[in-house]
Subunit: 529 residues, 2 copies
């Protein structure tokens, strides 16, 4: 008989063993992911307090190994968010799967993982503790020096100091060491900051890199977007487990009132119909539902197809105007068209798709369309080909329908926002191809592509017109002149004729002066003959 021993590992240990899953697969990507996770925590911490975020990221080299690709860096991220109460700091930063409780609304982070993973990665590559300084704006500033006990998934606090908060500072500073490769990740990091600034124009971002170079992305607006509202769950998104949790927390006396008060879009009429479909008496005590009744209830909700769509107030899109401004700042394009789709939903979660298509300007011409993907206002820069947007662009849209040249300067910007983005990985880089999301993307992209076709047709028409103008401009005036001379009249007005050929006055005037010389030079001589 083969002896097998078993063991249980902590979630910290699991992610320590499987760090590729969380985006820490190599020193270059680990640096990128660390910065990203901390910046996103900072954005959330400011947004929740309706504070225009000021974020400063500082990267310093601490490396002694010279001719190596990787070395040791110190990474410091400071924000002016709401801060973390001191009793929560050690666990919030040094326990995996411990995080701020958030309900049914749009957030950037994955619950209790990102920031801690960055510190965990730093710890296992440098064995140095991290420093967290935070204040909620009260009388005190707290400073913790800590590490993660990976086996136990617990914080080990080495030092805890309390300072008087004379300046009423509020925010959080995280500082730690990690083995990284800045040379290999610099381009992605800068791209990340640039795109984050576009999707969060109320944010001020300062990045000071290893060589002391400063990259400053000032805020484009003081207006802080309304933070997404936390709302009740939509019944369609609730499975047996979630239903059991709601039932066990409920203080309602009957299933009828339980359904009405725990879900959005459920009034008394709907609740009655659902319970009837499930074969559950209206007055049943929510605490006394059997296993089978819970399953029947969830099943009835799936079969009941008369729910109104989920409330989109838990979703916070960028908005057509800000998206357009962002794209214009980014590419100075000749053409840009932005579409915001109405709220839709998948599995009970509302979502909104926003799409911008830009052409020309500073976009480098290419055989393929440049994609710029965003989800919940954060840029997605890796695993492009695994993303639903890639699938839609390469498989669902027939670009040959839109008169786009083979090599063209086109950029497509997409933003998906939802209280729950169906990411394919903890690393949050690719969105899964849920059919409902795919469909909205197809509609929005087609709409922008049609507008681009119109624009390109106009351009083409103008170019054809210019060609025609060149031809007519060459011969018509001469013919007119000759005819005039023959008839001894002043040359006839040919503008009507040109107009009918699609050459308007403005274009005529514009081209006229340019061509006049040429005509004069060439044909005045001929005219003498």
């Amino acid at each position: 008989m083969v002896e097998v021993s078993f063991e249980q590992i902590s979630p910290a240990d699991f992610f320590y063993r499987n760090r590729d899953i969380a985006g820490f697969s190599n020193p270059s990507r680990a640096l990128y992911t660390s910065i990203r996770e901390l910046v996103e925590n900072s954005l959330d911490a400011a947004e929740i307090g309706k504070i225009p975020p000021n974020i400063v990221v500082e990267l310093t080299s601490e490396g002694t190994s010279e001719n190596e690709e990787t070395s040791i860096y110190r990474l410091k991220v400071e924000d002016n968010g709401i801060g973390v109460a001191p009793e929560y700091v050690p666990k919030a930063f040094a326990t995996v799967l411990f995080g701020s409780k958030y309900g049914y609304k749009q957030n950037r982070g994955t619950f209790g993982l990102g920031g801690t993973m960055a510190l965990l990665y730093g710890q296992i590559t440098t064995n140095k503790p991290a420093t967290v300084i935070s204040s909620t704006g009260g009388e005190e500033v707290h400073k913790f020096v800590l590490m993660i006990d990976i086996v136990k998934n617990e914080p080990k606090v080495f030092k805890h100091e309390v300072f008087e908060n004379k300046e009423k500072w509020r925010g959080t500073i995280v500082e730690f060491y990690l083995e990284a490769d800045y040379t290999g990740s610099r381009a992605k990091i800068l791209e990340y900051f640039k795109h984050t600034a576009i999707a969060n124009p109320h944010t001020s971002l300062l990045f000071i890199d290893v060589r002391g170079r400063m990259y400053y992305f000032p805020r484009a607006t003081e207006k802080v977007p309304e933070p997404p509202v936390e709302s009740l769950p939509h019944p369609v998104g609730v499975d047996v487990e979630a239903m059991n949790r709601l039932l066990s927390n409920s203080k309602e006396k009957s299933m009828l009132s339980f359904l009405v008060s725990n879900f959005q879009k459920v009034g008394e009429k709907t609740a009655r119909e659902v319970l009837e479909l499930a074969g559950i008496p209206l007055e049943t005590d929510p605490k006394k539902l059997s296993h089978e009744q819970v399953a029947a209830l969830v099943d009835a909700i799936k079969r009941y197809n008369k729910f109104r769509p989920p409330d989109p107030s838990s979703v916070s899109p960028i908005g057509e105007e800000l998206l357009r401004i962002g794209i214009e700042n980014m590419f100075k394009p000749d053409f840009v068209y932005v579409v915001q789709r109405p709220p839709s939903s998948y599995s009970g979660y509302p979502f909104v798709v926003e799409v911008g298509l830009a052409y020309g300007g500073e976009i480098p011409p290419s055989e393929s369309i440049q994609l710029y993907r965003f989800a919940n206002k954060i840029p997605l820069l890796y695993d492009e080909r695994a993303d639903v947007v890639w699938k839609v662009v390469t498989e669902r849209i027939d670009w040959s329908n839109y008169k786009i040249p083979k090599v063209a300067p086109i950029a497509l910007i997409t933003h998906i926002c939802s209280p729950k983005i169906p990411y394919k990985s903890v690393g949050k880089e690719a969105v899964a191809d849920r059919p409902e999301i795919e469909r909205e993307l197809v509609i929005a992209i087609r709409e922008t592509a049609r507008q681009l076709r119109l624009y390109l047709s106009k351009i083409e028409k103008k170019q054809t017109a210019v060609k025609r103008l060149n031809i007519y401009a060459k011969y018509l005036p001469i013919i007119a002149k000759c005819s005039g001379e023959l008839a001894d009249k002043k040359p006839p007005d040919i503008s009507n004729l040109l107009n009918r050929l699609g050459i308007d006055k403005e274009l005529l005037k514009e081209t006229h002066e340019k061509i006049l010389k040429e005509i004069e030079e060439k044909y005045t001589v001929t005219g003498e003959g």
Copy 2:
């Protein structure tokens, strides 16, 4: 001030909230992933006991909802593996991150996740308990009926029965209910079984589907491959955390003997040099190393570049012969070439790349190469474009160098095996592009492509030769005959001449008879004239 409350969630709760990450993103993929995880556990359970696996998978519809895309299924997977001791059954199947302890060797599963995730998914979609029956071949068979307490990450056992094991049965049966979509996943599931049979020719697999159709994949060989050997870790793969764990478990008295006895490829000379590089005295007590010394030791190991590569005995490749047989059974190709690369390593983990390239036969002609990816003898069927193989095939290999027609019947089969496959996600569908793995793939694929070019050149040459032969066959014999008649001699031997034109004797003979008739018919008449 904004009040934020914090909470800690269990790993079961984390994966319940993020099931897309583990491959349970929709009813179709969830069924595929469930079958896959259980079959892979069964394969591991047989392999560890050197038992030729017999695996029976049975899917039965329990659905009441008729016109729905999804319905309720019962999934039962039975194997003849080593079984699970009764004291471990509840936790092994109903606790996330609890699993059989495995060390430094090749395995199929992700530690303590796959099987439990399948049961968790079943539970949250049906609210029904699962049944696990197991015996290690002793006097008793144990049957458990259980569910997962997701909030606590603990098993809830409803029933535990013990039976007398009269027939000395050994193995495990897992049976549970889940909401799924078999119509949408059938093709992938059958593909999965087919490919699993190819990579595991010692396995007998029987699948009985919803309509009672039986798919039987009999074993192709009785020879059970040597199970991969568990070995000591290679120093290069050990980070600070792993080093701390080894140090705290060590019974050695000095760092010198600690290094020699805890790592592969470290003898006394190497250990001395590494400790010198780290500035740690040889006789230091392993339990008394400071934080800084541990970090210095790990850093010294990274800088010390004279280690011999890791021991590949913990890796179990398919082998060139079995891989070729598998590919031949699969496609009946006109051409197949298989390459097994010598063991290589990344971050201290050994790995072996095996590649087969097949052409013609039953491979459908296409503009793109058909990819068949395997890792540790399991097929990878999703997220192809996120995989390192896709990257290599589309970006690193210039296929135009290999004379391959635009539309061609080509299949590329790749197998990566290692004690640690760097998957990009818990769903185990895409391998990360570690540079070392990428490099081995490039070399192996290029080698197979060169062989294909040779084959295609021969084909082309043969075709050209046949064309030439047709021409020469038409005229040469006549010329020869006429010349012969003129000179009153028997026709000269033209085989040397044909040889110089690239037409060998075999080909000549082969074509000769076929063409002879045509010549006779056409030219005998002309010869008379």
